[in-house]
Amino acid sequence: MLDVGNLRVYYPVKVPLIQRFFQSEKPFVHAVDGVSFTLKAGEIFGLVGESGCGKTTIGRAVLRLAEATSGTIKFEGVDITRLPESKVRPLRQRMQIIFQDPHASLNPAMSIGQAIGHPLKIHGLAWLEADVRKEVLGVMREVGLTPEEQLYDKFPRDLSGGQKQRAAIARAIILKPQLIVADEPVSMLDMSIRARVLQLMLDLKEKYHLTYLFITHDLATAKFICDRIAIMYLGRIVETGPAKDIYESPKHPYTRALLQAIPIPDPLKRAPKILPKGEVPDAIHPPMGCRFHPRCLAVLPTCGWEARDFLDYLEERRSNPEKGREDELIIGSPDVWKANGLEAGRPCEPENIAIITEYVRSVMREAPAPMAQALDDIKVKEGRIIVVFRLPATLSPKKVESRLVECLLY
């Protein structure tokens, strides 16, 4: 039904004019950076990840609401990546979206009936008010927006969150689409009504043979509702496979970390957690090699160690009072270092070169083993001391049991 191949979506970053004179490179947010997956008809496919991992951007790109920078999106065998808008419109009868925030996705000036019936008019499927009304009332009953006659003329502000999301679902299914992109459809809803909306989506899927691209940050919901899942991190899919298998034995260290971090609603199952440190880095300059490597608990010397990691390591030593003071005294603050790809360098007076080089060597020896082993050389060039890391190993998705995993462990 849907075939996404090596999709990239980069958003340009707004840079003030003055800065543009000094910057040779245009910065981009690498929102989606080489993602491939296929959706079979009748399947619920989950895109799961933390905020900023690119899951929403993929959903939007699939519907052509975001422009793909490169790669292909095939819908029912037809490449729609570069289709002109005039040809995309009719396509949208067959692919619809449900947004996260029902308070924002419904026009406050349109009655519920108008909003749900609007797609019929846009696509020229019904013109007479009576026809639209009949169709809309039918869909409203279908999604449990009852009493439908009364709710028809109400406005979004008169409805509860759950009802609004039902209206959004009604609007999405009124055209009888094949594919629905559901972008966090229940995350804004209270726990006590979440299950009802999910159940509705499952019922509608059975009835109309829908296919869902289900986007969520909630692993528990994804596990329950999805057939297959792709776990995303910083613009890449790190693991894809049947939902059940991924939860039973996660392969990628990031998947493992995510699963471990979920709070378990059972006070008798409390257990200490081993969590990755830090947070998701920014997507303008994603880490080299595997993007998860700076935080990974199973990291290898070949995973992508680079100059920035060395600077972060110096910064981290700074929060240790003893080491921080010694570092500051001998090699100065981390700010004097400049990171450039695999090389971190700092200027140095000729008389201090020997001492500083030796000290940097000892600092690297104290570094966590995978990083220390990734060191290629510490050299002196044109009055600068340069720490050089080895090139990372190439990373590509590999088949591990029932899954595709992008990790050097396999």
Partner: protein, 288 residues
């Protein structure tokens, strides 16, 4: 709440949990009608004058909010935030205040070197850690945390919860955790109070409430959580009530599958059903 205890206040949108937190800090909007009492070590916070309250807030009771970005001043550096807070409460030299700032930040794993940065220069998790450091710099004995991890991703959320638990252990500080997430309550709290439509419907130890809830709302709410072992979707019929016109009698009766005619009329008192566990249900004994 006893000293050193972690109590969870849990409930859905509009149940009054945040209002409760604000009441404890006396930061409700002007002209809010407040009755009853709020005893903090035998002092009724509702009767204190502004100056006494101001002294107590921050020094004894501190608050952290859901979204640190809206609570930190974007025009002030982290250093300025700390100096202002410390010196508003205590007469100390700038040097001492700075030293305490550094200690507080280091304990939250925020690098000292970033003390002159502005809030927008930090990541979400780092900002929340700064917020916690700022709340703790005056070593309060009670920390009220209103959805402290709701705007954070699951891994950072787990990191922050771990920090809060460490603090509790190391400083014997009491923590009142306001959240909608029952998973967090189960992992962090000793006791819990379940709120529905502005009233406590059940309270007790976390282990009792999760294993043997008495109130139908608590039971149904626990069943509606979608967790990794969920086999079947369950939900509670109906909608939370409009608090302008709360239902008569038991406020849960319109949604309660066990409601009887008397529930429409009689307001159920909070009664003890097991040692340390009480619920506000007229038919509580049937559910024990």
């Amino acid at each position: 709440m006893a000293g050193g205890e972690t109590v969870g206040i849990v409930g859905e949108t509009g149940c009054g949990k945040s209002t409760l937190g604000k009441a404890i800090l006396s930061i409700l909007p002007p002209r809010t009608r407040v009755t009853g009492h709020l005893l903090f070590r035998r002092t009724d916070l509702n009767t204190l004058d502004r100056e006494a309250l101001r002294r107590l807030q921050g020094e004894e009771i501190a608050l952290i909010f859901q979204d640190p970005m809206t609570r930190l001043n974007p025009l002030m550096t982290i250093e300025q935030h700390f100096l202002e807070t410390i010196r508003a409460h205590q007469k100390v030299s700038k040097r001492e205040a700075l030293e305490r700032t550094m200690a507080a930040l280091t304990s939250m794993r925020v690098p000292e070197s970033r003390i002159r940065n502005y809030p927008h220069e930090f990541s979400g998790g780092m900002r929340q850690r700064i917020m916690i450091a700022l709340a703790l710099v005056l070593t309060p004995s009670l920390l009220v945390a209103d959805e402290p991890t709701t705007s954070l991703d699951v891994i950072v959320e787990a990191q922050i919860l771990e920090i809060l638990q460490d603090l509790k252990r190391n400083y014997r500080m009491s923590l009142l955790l306001i959240t909608h997430n029952l998973g967090i309550v189960a992992e962090v709290c000793d006791k819990v109070a379940v709120l529905y439509a502005g009233k406590v419907v059940e309270q007790g130890s976390v282990t009792d409430i999760f294993a043997r809830p008495v109130h139908p709302y608590t039971r149904l709410l626990l069943q509606s959580i979608i967790h990794l072992d969920t086999k079947e979707l369950r939900s509670i019929d109906g909608q939370p009530p409009d608090l302008l016109f709360p239902p008569s009698g038991c406020r849960f009766h319109p949604r309660c599958p066990y409601a009887k005619p008397v529930c429409h009329e009689k307001v159920p008192p909070l009664e003890q059903f097991r040692s340390g566990q009480s619920a506000a249900c007229l038919f509580g004994k049937d559910f024990v």
